[in-house]
């Protein structure tokens, strides 16, 4: 295939013990030891109060990483296309719906229903950011990070437009948690652009490969990588945190992974 290239202009991160990109970068560059802690989700002040009340874990997570990445990139959100990728939707909401449907009443709340769509975070993002450009919303189970990144790089290459990629996952409560044990919320967002601007952090050149994906040496971070699909991007974040060049291989589908050549800018 023709390699796909894009420049990273902004990063947002939120996850267990990782409150934003600078704190994650400090951990990933080994400047600060990783201290595991439950993910802390900020209230999305960007939404009107009526919408804010209805938002859930997955919406708070996506809005937090999306706003962080776009703020760091200093880019106009309202015209920015976006790719959202997540292995599941709102797990708590799904559990509540299944409980109601298994009861004798079956009276669903309309808000629960409209929050059940997989693109719930994209819908609230578009409202919060007044973003009217195209938003694609993907799911590829454990391959969701790779699927989102490939879709985003393809859009940047073909449409020659900057774009926001958001990859995120949240946990299910029991009893679904036993079947899909995602431990906590984790998300990462990148602003990607087709050309090098002053704000560019690194250039990515991507190819599909059959080589194995990179692992994390720090055991807690490796646990995150294995247990949360959106955290499959951690080896790329490590490279960016250390401002290193070279190759990163990320998990995607069985027998198909994403090889990225990373070139730091400046």
């Amino acid at each position: 295939m023709t390699p796909l290239t894009a420049y990273i202009e902004g990063i947002g991160v939120l996850g267990p013990g990782l409150i934003d990109w600078p704190s994650a970068a400090a951990v990933l560059s080994a400047a600060t030891p990783y201290a595991p802690a439950a993910t802390v989700l900020p209230t999305p002040l960007s939404l009107p109060p009526a919408e804010r009340r209805r938002t859930s874990v997955v919406v708070k997570l996506a809005l937090a990483i999306g706003f962080e990445a776009t703020t760091r990139a200093g880019i106009d959100r309202s015209t920015l296309p976006a790719v959202f990728s997540s292995s599941g939707g709102d797990g708590f909401n799904c559990h509540e719906i299944c409980q109601v449907l298994a009861s004798s009443e079956r009276q669903l709340s309309p808000t629960r229903f409209h929050n059940s769509v997989h693109n719930v975070a994209a819908g609230y993002w578009s409202i919060a950011a007044s973003a009217t450009a195209a938003a694609n919303v993907l799911c590829a189970f454990d391959a969701s990070f790779g699927a989102g990144l490939l879709e985003a790089l393809t859009q940047v290459a073909v449409e020659r437009t900057p774009l926001l990629l958001l990859a995120y996952d949240t946990q299910y409560p029991e009893p679904l948690r036993a079947k899909r044990p995602i431990p906590d919320a984790f998300g990462v967002a990148f602003v990607l652009a087709p050309g090098a601007r002053a704000s560019a952090l690194a250039k990515l050149t991507a190819m599909l490969t059959e080589s194995d994906g990179d692992r994390m040496s720090e055991p807690h971070l490796e646990d995150l990588l294995v247990s949360i699909p959106a955290a499959r991007g951690l080896p790329l974040l490590r490279k960016l945190a250390r401002r290193e060049g070279g190759r990163v291989t990320l998990d995607y589908l069985p027998h198909m992974r994403l090889a990225l050549e990373v070139e730091p800018c400046n």
Binding site: M1, T2, L4, S85, S87, G88, G89, C94, I97, C98, Q99, L101, A102, R106, Q107, L108, S109, P110, R112, F113, H114, N115, S116, V117, H118, N119, V120, A122, G123, Y124, S126, I127, A129, T132, A133, A134, A135, N136, V137, L138, C139, A140, F141, A143, A147, E151, T154, Q155, A157, V158, E159, P175, L176, A178, K179, R180, L208, L253, H255, M256
Partner: protein, 397 residues
């Protein structure tokens, strides 16, 4: 954008299994809607249920994927020689060069709904044989189809509610344009479940009668189910003039509300205009518009404003949801196949169940079939969260 060839396609919906039955239903103006008798659902509404889904067996090696959604997918894969056409394509390009991009809204969540009724009384656990990844997870349908068709290319499910399986055409088009792949199986599979039936009912969006798009008395949707697949390929240098092509795609976000369209159809208009621009066409080049046309008061009025602001009031339009019901995440692909059939057979399908077009709506809504050449058609799909997509299909020459 560079047009792509629709090499092969098929669909299964409430109006028929495969292309011949689907075309016959359109020609005879036959609706597949009937009073809801699905599972234990106690809602007074009409639905478009596909008969025979539960009698469909999955291939032995893929039985772990067993759920209504994947049975419906399998039923469609068996129609019209689709599986053989994909095998020929994979032989030609190589299985790593053929992607799978499918749309769904609820995948196999019916399995989870049933599993919640069977939770252990002491532990609350779900049954041991419940398989989240192969049924409930949205990706299950793409994983199943990819394995059933023995493809090794990139794969993803698009989940933007009711525009899911329209947007897959845009994703595949970009991947082919970027040189990541040469061909893709795109489509949509969405099956009946309690979440959508009770959910749309909770929003007071389900009609008691068969849905009546653009009617003065329209009062909601009829939920349907469908599986539709299209093999999209990079076109050869010489094309038969009769070949159906994907000419343009447009996508936008309303940025307005989670479950109501922008009242002036702002996002819908943007996606239509983008599709025209991508296809390098003027509004007058479009011979027929297959509307999203869900028959809710708000969708049809917003879509009317969007369409008339771009096309005026002359272009023939209809919604085929009066025949098929609203197949939600499969609607975009199902209606793409209907558009392809319409072009191939020179049939502009009139909308069913509509007896008096709302005088407040100004687009040219057809209730009777029309015969005659169709060169280019536009299909609209709009989803919850304000996720809009418009596609343009046409003859190669």
């Amino acid at each position: 954008m560079t047009p792509l060839r629709l090499t092969h396609f098929t669909a299964v919906s409430a109006v028929g299994r495969g292309l011949a039955e689907t075309l016959d239903a359109l020609e005879q103006q036959r609706s597949g809607l009937a009073p809801c008798a699905f599972e234990t659902v106690d809602i007074e509404t009409h639905i478009g249920e596909v008969p025979g889904v539960d009698a469909t067996a999955l291939p032995q090696a893929l039985r772990g994927f067993n759920c209504r959604n994947n049975r419906l997918a399998q039923l469609a894969l068996m129609q019209d020689g689709f599986t053989d056409a994909v095998a020929t394509s994979a032989d030609h390009w190589g299985p790593r060069r053929v992607g799978v991009f499918l749309g769904t809204s609820t995948a196999g969540i019916l399995e989870t709904e049933l599993a919640y009724r069977a939770r252990g009384s002491a532990t609350g656990e779900l049954p041991k044989d419940f398989n989240y990844a192969a049924t409930h997870n949205s990706f299950s349908v793409a994983d199943f189809v990819r394995q059933a068709l023995q493809l090794d290319g990139p794969a993803a499910v698009v989940c933007t509610a009711c525009s899911s399986s329209a947007k897959v055409f845009a994703s595949a088009q970009r991947m082919i344009s970027a040189g990541v792949i040469d061909a893709a199986v795109v489509g949509g599979v969405d099956s009946l479940c309690l979440t959508t039936l009770y959910g749309f009912h909770s929003l007071q969006l389900t009609s008691r009668t068969p849905c009546r798009p653009f009617d003065v008395a329209r009062d909601g949707i009829s939920i349907g189910e469908a599986a539709a697949f299209v093999l999209l390929e990079r076109p050869p240098s010489r094309l038969d003039g009769d070949t159906i092509m994907l000419l343009g795609t447009g996508e936008s976000s309303d940025a307005y509300h989670m479950s109501s369209p922008h009242p002036e159809g702002r996002g819908a208009r943007a996606s239509i205009q983008q599709a025209l621009k991508a296809a390098n066409l003027a509004p007058g080049d479009i011979d027929y518009i297959n509307l999203h046309g869900t028959a809710t008061a708000s969708n049809d009025s917003a879509e009317d404003l969007a369409v008339t602001s771009v096309f005026g009031t002359g272009t023939a339009c209809s919604s085929t949801k009066g025949a098929t019901g609203h197949a939600l995440g499969a609607a975009g692909a199902l209606e793409a196949v209907i558009c392809a059939l319409a072009i191939q057979h020179g049939l502009t399908p009139g909308g069913l169940n509509t007896t008096e077009v709302d005088p407040k709506l100004n687009l040219h809504y057809l209730c009777e079939n029309r015969r005659g050449g169709l060169r280019r058609v536009l299909s609209n799909s709009f989803g919850f969260g304000g996720a809009n997509c418009s596609l343009i299909f046409g003859r190669a020459a």
